[in-house]
């Protein structure tokens, strides 16, 4: 096994392809995905459902569905490969160096255990801490995520918590061992807007204090604009555009990104009706030749039947024959 240590990125995914077996041959759901997250950086993967964003996250965690196969590519955590680890090696990394914050915190907490026992569990698992000590550490963690009255609350069951508190508990559990990478899969979709803001503020605080890299998976453009440093736009299993958030929001180059941004209503601008992108995301087995977005693209023409490569535009790159230029 070769170990590359020349990388400064916390997470580096390169050329990752994921396939599912299908009746007419393998269906490629993620196609040559590359992504990097630097320490202390908040990176978003944005895309519709079915765009492959969640599968990408699951492949980092090694929790892809049984049928899924990684066809090519590598995933490196601080230069160490994550693909091909034994179950035991993987377990020693999960919860320890990589943490995951799921979408629905209530369903992610075990209803039969008190919160302290769940938040403290990583200490017992990875550090061999005694349960009594782990519970005390759990109380401290709950305090650090600004849960009120943590001593009392730690002894309660998850269903006694409000939605925001449950998500805070999940964040606390994720942060227990100060991981280098935090993967958050739409962590705020189930929450009220105000609570959502609190949880995001908490995540930002975590980044500032511990230099944790955060991979943020979402379909909410508003969140990305407020919260993230860089963004990867995914469509039908491919990254179609990547770059710093400010640039992508101000001058999107790929027609898909442009359409996504125009489809999001904003306060102040009155649009007569909501804009929608015609058609829907193609299934992996009916992908068109060439650019996957071409059938829905207003600008598509003949050469779009050849898959475009990334342009060489530095930090802001796109995969399109006509990088859109907005005046």
């Amino acid at each position: 096994m070769t170990v590359e240590c020349n990388s400064s990125a916390t997470l580096e995914i390169s050329n990752l392809s994921i396939e599912f077996p299908g009746r007419t041959g393998p269906r490629r759901v993620v196609e040559r995905m590359s992504l990097t997250v630097a320490p202390g950086e908040i990176v978003a993967i944005i895309g519709e459902s079915g765009s492959g964003k969640t599968l990408t996250a699951l492949s980092v965690l090694g929790l892809l569905p049984r049928q899924a196969r990684i066809r090519s590519g590598s995933i490196l955590l601080k230069g160490h490969p994550l693909i091909g680890l034994t179950a035991q090696e993987r377990r020693s990394i999960l919860g320890n160096r990589i943490a995951f914050i799921p979408q629905d915190a209530l369903r992610a907490l075990n209803p039969t255990l008190i919160v302290a026992d769940q938040v403290g569990e990583p200490f017992v698992l990875h550090r061999g801490t005694a349960w009594a000590a782990a519970r005390c550490l759990a109380v401290e963690l709950l305090r650090s995520v600004h849960l009120r009255d943590p001593e009392q609350r730690a002894k309660e069951y998850p269903h006694q918590y409000s939605g925001g508190m449950q998500q805070r508990a999940m964040v606390a559990m994720g942060l227990a061992l100060e991981p280098e990478l935090l993967i958050a899969d739409e962590p705020t979709t189930a929450l009220d807007v105000t609570v959502q803001a609190q949880v995001l503020a908490l995540l930002r605080e975590v980044r500032e204090e511990h230099g944790t890299a955060i991979l943020f998976i979402t379909h909410d453009l508003g969140l990305v604009a407020d919260f993230c440093d860089r963004v990867y736009v995914m469509y039908a299993g491919r990254v179609v555009e990547e770059g710093p958030v400010e640039e992508i929001f101000v001058s999107p180059r790929h027609p898909y990104t442009y359409a996504l941004l125009s489809a999001t209503p904003s306060v102040g601008e009155r649009t007569p009706e909501l804009l929608a992108i015609p058609g829907q995301i193609p299934q992996p087995h009916e992908l068109p030749e060439g650019c996957a977005f071409a059938p829905r693209c207003v600008r598509a023409e003949a050469r779009c039947s050849v898959d475009p490569l990334f342009d060489t535009g530095g930090a802001h790159r796109t995969r399109c024959w006509f990088p859109e230029r907005r005046s």
Partner: protein, 285 residues
């Protein structure tokens, strides 16, 4: 409002909500009390022969009469409860633990493990219970311990199927994924995350299985495969009573009634528990 009407109201309310559960609870309580306190409750020894007083009808001395060798039927019926509860407890324990583990492992590991384990369970299921018990007793030898094991083995497939279904459901829950994500091992996930979450339906099933275990034990003892004389068991007492139905009907009727009430009690308790644990029923009431 006076205290008594308030009490009456609260009793009525409890009755409407938990009627079945309370009848079951009382009957089961009586059986357990008889089993635990047999030495204190029984007025006579269950083994003491008195040939001078055989086949006596119920009287002040022998409340429920005496049997063909002059033993007190009431005392023997009470001691028999002890055997029944013991056998049922061990048998249901074997079935619950064995079946639940098999079901959870089958569902969790899936694939070949699942197929092999569940086919084995179906094989066990396909043999009629009493026949299976007789076969097992014939190969293990007839004593009460083997009766416990045989009845327990009969229960394993039922518990395994139930646990497999509930585990399948639990596996779809996100807390299992969350447990994997913090690096828990499979065994730890099974014991810490899955088992506590699937236990409720299995326990309800256990209460119902308990009734069936008592019945099976009596059936085996009736056939002479369970408790061996002079050990009293409802089954072998009923078998004896069969021969004296015309002269001394209490010989069969007393243990028969005890068996009936015991089985009824555990069934009602099981039904009541199911209603209590089912959130849909709870809310609609």
């Amino acid at each position: 409002m006076s205290l008594s009407t308030e009490m009456a109201r609260s009793i009525r309310w409890t009755w409407r909500r938990h009627g079945i559960l309370s009848i079951g609870g009382v009957l089961v309580g009586l059986v357990v009390l008889a089993a635990l306190g047999a030495d204190l409750i029984a007025p006579h020894s269950p083994y003491e022969l008195d040939v001078a007083r055989m086949l006596q009808p119920p009287s002040l001395v022998n409340w429920l009469g005496t049997d063909e060798v002059g033993r007190d039927v009431f005392s023997r019926t009470i001691y028999a409860a002890r055997i029944s509860v013991e056998v049922a407890l061990v048998a249901v324990g074997v079935g619950l633990v064995g079946g639940t583990l098999i079901g959870v492992f089958a569902a969790y590991f899936g694939g070949f493990v699942d197929m092999a384990l569940m086919r084995l369970m179906e094989l066990l299921f396909s043999v009629p219970a009493i026949l299976l018990a007789v076969i097992l007793m014939a190969s293990l030898g007839t004593n009460i311990l083997n009766a416990m094991i045989a009845i327990g083995i009969i229960f394993i497939p039922g518990f395994a199927r139930l646990a497999r279904a509930t585990t399948m459901d639990a596996l779809r829950q996100q807390y299992i994924e969350a447990a994997r994500v913090i690096g828990m091992s499979d065994i730890r996930i099974i014991f810490r995350e899955i088992l506590p979450n699937i236990l409720a339906p299995s326990l309800v099933e256990a209460a119902v299985a308990f009734a069936y275990a008592v019945l099976l034990e009596s059936a085996l003892s009736f056939l002479g495969l369970g408790a061996q004389p002079p050990e009293p068991s409802w089954g072998n007492m009923i078998n004896t009573g069969r021969g004296f139905m015309a002269q001394a009907p209490w010989l069969g009727i007393v243990p028969g009634t005890a068996l009936f009430l015991c089985v009824l009690g555990f069934n009602l308790l099981g039904d009541g528990l199911r209603d209590l644990l089912d959130p849909h029923l709870r809310e609609s009431q």
